[in-house]
Symmetry: C2
Subunit: 317 residues, 2 copies
Amino acid sequence: MSDIPTIEQIRTAARTIEALVHRTPIFTSRSIDQVSRARLFFKCENFQKVGAFKARGAVNAVNSLEEKMLKCGVATHSSGNHAAAVAYAASCKGVKAIVVMPNNASAIKIAAVEGYGAEIIYCEPTQQAREAALREVVKQTGAAFIHPYNDYRVITGQATAAMELLEQVPDLDAIITPVGGGGLISGTALAAKAISPQLSVYGAEPAGADDAFRSFQAGHIIPCENPDTIADGLRTSLGELTFPIICEHVSAIITVSDQAIINAMRLVWERMKIIIEPSSAVVLAALLTDRTSIRGARIGLIISGGNVDLNDLPWHK
Amino acid sequence: MSDIPTIEQIRTAARTIEALVHRTPIFTSRSIDQVSRARLFFKCENFQKVGAFKARGAVNAVNSLEEKMLKCGVATHSSGNHAAAVAYAASCKGVKAIVVMPNNASAIKIAAVEGYGAEIIYCEPTQQAREAALREVVKQTGAAFIHPYNDYRVITGQATAAMELLEQVPDLDAIITPVGGGGLISGTALAAKAISPQLSVYGAEPAGADDAFRSFQAGHIIPCENPDTIADGLRTSLGELTFPIICEHVSAIITVSDQAIINAMRLVWERMKIIIEPSSAVVLAALLTDRTSIRGARIGLIISGGNVDLNDLPWHK
C-alpha cells in the first residue's frame, strides 16, 4: 500500500483479519459517566488477542505479505505490544519472527513475545538504537520489516477497531485514542471521518512524551527525546505517514500528567473491574483533565491494551 | 416464601429484578481452557451491580417486602458484598438500610456500603457477634432483616445467575460456584437441575473455611469456627435452608488452599484482563486442583464478584 488507506481498504482488512482477532466488546460505567459528565463507550481492546489492539495491524500486515516474502520471516522493533502482535501474527502463519525490544521493556510483555515463539534482540531504549538493531536484523536475515505504526497496512489494521466501535455504537460525537507513534489515532481518524464526518477525533498523550502535541502545534514532526512517562506504549514518536493524517483529521491532542493517568487507570480497575494498562488510561485521563476541549456528550474511548506487570502497579510505589 | 423455590418462582424473580441488575456477559479464555483441559464459560458477576451476584438476591428480597414493612427500613449483617447489595437495593426503593459489618471487612467494601447511603454498625468478626448486633438493630428500629443467604427470597434471586448462564450457554456439563453460606450454590443447583437435570453442580470452598465440605460429608451442619482464608466472602457457615438443597443437588464440595486461590486469581487477571476477588477465584482453583472430581468438558464457572482492595493484593505480601 502506497497511498492513504480508504474506507473500502479498511473494510477489506476487517474481513481479512476477522478469523484471527476478536470483535471486542463495548463496556459502559454509570459511575464513570457521572464523574465525567458524559456518556462513555469503552472499546475494550484490552480483551483483544495479545491483550492489545496491535494484533489488528500486525495480522493485517503479515497477511498482506506474499508467500515468497514470508519465507525469510518478519521482524520489528517495539516496546512490547506490537512485538507480541507481530509474534502472534507470524505464529498464525507459521513463519519466524524476530523482534527488537528496548532493554527496559516490561517483564510481562517480554514473556508474551517469547510465548509466541519469537526471537528477541535487546537494545538501548532509544529510537535510534531500535532502528539500528532492526536494520542489522533485516540485513542479516532478509526478514520483512513490520513497522509498529509507520506502515499503511498497519494503520489499516488498527483502523478496524474504530470501524467496529461505530458499528456497535453508531451515534458517537467523538472518539479519543492514545497517541504514541500515531498508528491507532490515524487509523481511527480515517475510519471515523469516512463513516461519520461530523464526529471529532481527539488524541491523548502523556505530558512526559508530548511529541504529538508539539508536532501538531508546530506543523512539523518534532521527535520525542528522552520520554519520561509510565505509559510505556506511548514513548515513541510520530511517523511520516501518521503525522499528515493526524494534522488533517484530528481536532486536538490533549496532554496529561502521569498522576492523572494513574488515577484514571485505578478508577477503571475499581469501577469497571477490567484491567487496562497506563497507555490505555491516558484517554480517560484526558477526558477528566480537559473536559472543555472535548466536545460531545457521547464519547468513544479506545482502551488500547491490558498488559500490566501485576508485580509493579503504579499505586504501590 | 416458606418453601423451596421452584423454577417458576426463579423465572418470576428474574423478570422482577431485571431493571435493577445487569445481565452479565460470559467470558471465555483459550489459554485457560488449555491449562484446565476443559472448555470454560465464566459468568462474570464481577460486572454485576455492586460488583457481585449479591445484588440479585438483595434486590429480589427487598422487592418482595410489602410497603408497610419497608417503612422501617431494612437491615443485614455481611462481610461486604451482601451489605453493599442490601444498601443498593434499599437505595433503589428509597428506604433506609442498616448493615452490621465485621470490623475486619475490607476498606473497599466498607466504602461501597457507605456510597449507597447505608448506616454501618461494626462488630467483632464472628458469626455470633454479627447476629447479636443485628438482633439489636432489628429490635430498636423494626427494620426488616435480609439474611445474606438463609432466606428463600435471597436464594431465588441468586438462582437467576445460573438461569441466565444456561440461557447464554445451554449445553453445559457442569457448573462450579463458590460456597460461603450457600445462597449462591443452592440457588444455582435449583435453577440448573430444573433446566438441565443431567448437569452436575459443584461447590468450591477454601480449605481454611471448609464447613460446607465437612457438613456435606457428615450429613449435618458443622459451623465454621475461626475461618482462616483470603476469600473474605466465604468465611460464613451454611444455613438451615441452604444445607438441605446442597445435600440433595450438589455432586461434591472441593476444597482448595489459599495459595491455589491466589494463583487462580492471578491467572484470570493476567490472561483475561478482568478483576475478580479471591472468593471468585476459588472456582477456577478447584478446577485446576481437582480436575478428576469434576466431570464434564463444558464447564460454567460463576465468578461471584470483583471487589478487591487494590492497595492490598495477595501477591504483594
